[in-house]
């Protein structure tokens, strides 16, 4: 069931367009990530939904009710900000309690909710600390507990992990997902980090220039991107030219493949090949030369300079990559198990 519906939302700041015809439907209980490069409008979309900015045009429905004119305090959303937004004059417990007090929830019930929030966010040791006595990760856990304590209709997270270091970011990311599944709250998570988005989202909305380019599951985004922007934005891509064969198959690097979506009009297209779909054969007459080999654990990333295709990125099982040396001549081909390919028109790609 759709709980949040934003239709045709437009917003400009002076001459710069932040959102142009932004439309999205979010289902109850799902975690949506809005992903895109800086300035794509993802935070503006969230702030408009929260009521902190006013849209120039468009409609916003929550449970089929128009909320465009409701002030932030009447929308019933919980929000976590990028900056630690804890109230410095209050302890963790008082911060969590704040929203409940504002909603005039009675003493016993309020205490019970705060205790439960402290318990599920594992903040028992820090409950009576002030924000300046806590680490960044602990502060964001308090901010999260504070946002969900008021039982929000929708939880809004505006780049909540970007101020944290890598290790804390990863563990808090998993904690957010665990909590979200535990309490089943519909969540919109804004991030510019695609790994973060792909790791926790039910669906990811990729934005560019104030528009939602595609809203799909992480796997679908990766395997069947709707356009070349998404293909290049999500993960790493190599592009090769593809020729249409008479049997409507496409030939890429001498291999015949079926087109997954959007077969381009005309006889020539660009094929998106992911690094893990590439195989390298060491051959003295190979066109490519290995430039770098980076060991990444289970896999190794190999960059090959090819006179025709430029720099090609290949991810190989580390055991296979161990046979390769920098400077080896290699032939580049598509792995045997790859049968389908994503194509874009030449003019677009």
């Amino acid at each position: 069931m759709t709980i949040v519906s934003m239709k045709g939302i437009a917003k400009s700041f002076g001459s710069s367009v932040a959102l142009a015809d932004f439309t999205i439907d979010i289902r109850s209980g799902e975690l949506i990530c809005l992903l895109g490069p800086s300035g794509c409008g993802k935070t503006t979309a969230l702030r408009i939904l929260a009521g902190f900015e006013r849209a120039d045009s468009g409609t916003m429905l929550i449970d089929s009710k128009d909320i465009s004119d409701l002030p932030p305090e009447k929308r019933g959303f919980g929000m976590v900000f990028q900056e630690y937004s804890l109230f410095p004059n209050m302890t963790a417990r008082q911060n969590i309690e704040f929203g409940l007090r504002m909603q005039k929830i009675g003493g016993a019930s309020r205490k019970e909710t705060v205790d439960r929030m402290i318990d599920i966010t594992r903040l028992e040791e820090h409950a009576d600390k002030f924000p300046h006595q806590m680490s960044g990760g602990q502060k964001q856990r308090v901010a999260l507990a504070r946002a969900i304590a008021i039982s929000p209709r929708v939880l809004l997270l505006d780049e909540p992990l970007s101020a944290l270091d890598a290790k804390v970011r990863e563990s808090l990311r998993d904690e957010i997902r665990r909590l979200q599944l535990e309490i089943g709250v519909t969540t919109i998570f804004v991030t510019h980090d695609q790994y973060e988005a792909l790791a926790i989202a039910d669906r990811v909305g990729v934005m560019s220039n104030g528009r939602l380019e595609q809203l799909a599951s992480p796997r679908e985004l990766y395997e069947a991107p709707a356009n070349s922007f998404i293909a290049e934005f999500i993960g790493t891509t190599n592009t090769f030219s593809a020729q249409r064969r008479p049997d409507n198959k496409w030939e890429v690097l001498s291999k015949q493949l079926n087109s997954i979506i959007a077969p381009a009009n005309g006889a020539v297209a660009r094929a998106v090949i992911r690094p893990e779909q590439i195989a390298l054969d060491v051959r003295d007459d190979g066109d490519g030369t290995i430039l770098t080999i980076s060991f990444l654990g289970a896999i190794s990333r190999v960059i090959v300079a090819d006179p025709t295709h430029g720099h090609i990125v290949a991810d190989l099982i580390s055991a296979d990559a161990a046979r390769l040396r920098i400077g080896d001549r290699v032939a580049i081909r598509i792995r045997d198990d790859v049968t389908e390919v994503v194509l874009f028109g030449v003019d677009v790609a």
Partner: protein, 276 residues
């Protein structure tokens, strides 16, 4: 010794010499002032043997018991308190609304708050006096008519302190976080923003105090009897006592400011005074 270590040592010596020079620049006049105020030995007769003779706090005692000085001190204290209140009543809401609602206006407001320093006291006093002498003569008759001048005069310092304090606590995000949780505008102000502005408000008050206790031009031009103007009058009849009093007021103000800062640090509050 390597040439790098020698260069480092030279740099240390240069820095120490520079610091001693600067310290001397500030300390020597004060020491000379203290000697004159508390040692009753003329400079021409001062020999090493007489360095420890003739010291007395009688001049300060006379000054502190002078009825005119006591009355002027009381007036100045009233002016300090009222100036702090007026300054904060005007500037706290202005700074909050600018930061939270219209951050784009900040450069304009910051520039406007500098205006009191662009206009010299004589122009301000003459202009205001000419206006009020006709419209509200009772206003200029009272000693407290200095309060608006001092509130205005302190504005460039205090606005910057309040603005820096608001930015340091990320007031806009705190405001939005609180509103998002259902708090009304007054509730956000009373429970979130104002409690977190304590340090910048105390710092503003301390600066206003220092400014008022040292201000002479406005009070003299408006013929008001405040501590600084009375100190000058007193000094004319009793130079030693006058200087002793001036030194006392200066040390007293510095100690009060130091205690305020210490008390704030103990409570985990710090000054956020970038741009001041």
């Amino acid at each position: 010794m390597t040439s790098q270590a020698a260069a480092q040592k030279r740099s240390h010596i240069f820095r120490a010499a520079f610091l001693i020079l600067i310290a001397g620049y500030f300390a020597l006049p004060l020491l000379a002032m203290a000697r004159f105020a508390f040692q009753n030995v003329p400079m021409a007769l001062l020999t090493p043997e007489k360095l420890l003779t003739g010291w007395s706090a009688a001049g300060l005692q006379t000054a502190l018991t002078d009825p005119q000085i006591i009355s002027a001190t009381w007036t100045s204290i009233q002016i300090v308190v009222l100036s702090i209140i007026l300054n904060l009543v005007i500037l706290v809401p202005l700074a909050i609304v600018t930061e939270v609602r219209n951050p784009a206006l900040r450069p304009i407001i910051t520039a406007l708050t500098l205006l009191p320093w662009v206009i010299p006291p004589i122009a301000l006093v003459v202009g205001v006096a000419a206006t009020f002498r006709i419209a509200a003569p009772w206003f200029l008759a009272s000693n407290l008519s200095l309060v608006p001048f001092y509130a205005l005069w302190a504005m460039p310092f205090t606005y910057r302190l309040l603005d820096a304090g608001l930015r340091a606590i990320n007031a806009r995000t705190l405001y939005e976080a609180a509103r998002g949780m259902g708090a009304s505008f007054p509730a956000v102000m009373l429970r979130v923003i104002l409690p977190n502005m304590r340090s910048s408000m105390i710092a503003s008050a301390a600066l206003t105090t220092a400014l008022v206790l040292g201000e002479f031009a406005f009070a003299s031009l408006l013929l008001k009897s405040t501590l600084p103007t009375e100190m000058v009058t007193f000094e004319r009849s009793d130079p030693r006592g006058g200087l002793a009093l001036a030194l006392f007021v200066m040390v007293f103000t510095a100690v009060i400011l130091g205690l305020v800062v210490r008390a704030m640090r103990r409570r985990g509050l710090t000054f956020h005074a970038s741009g001041v």
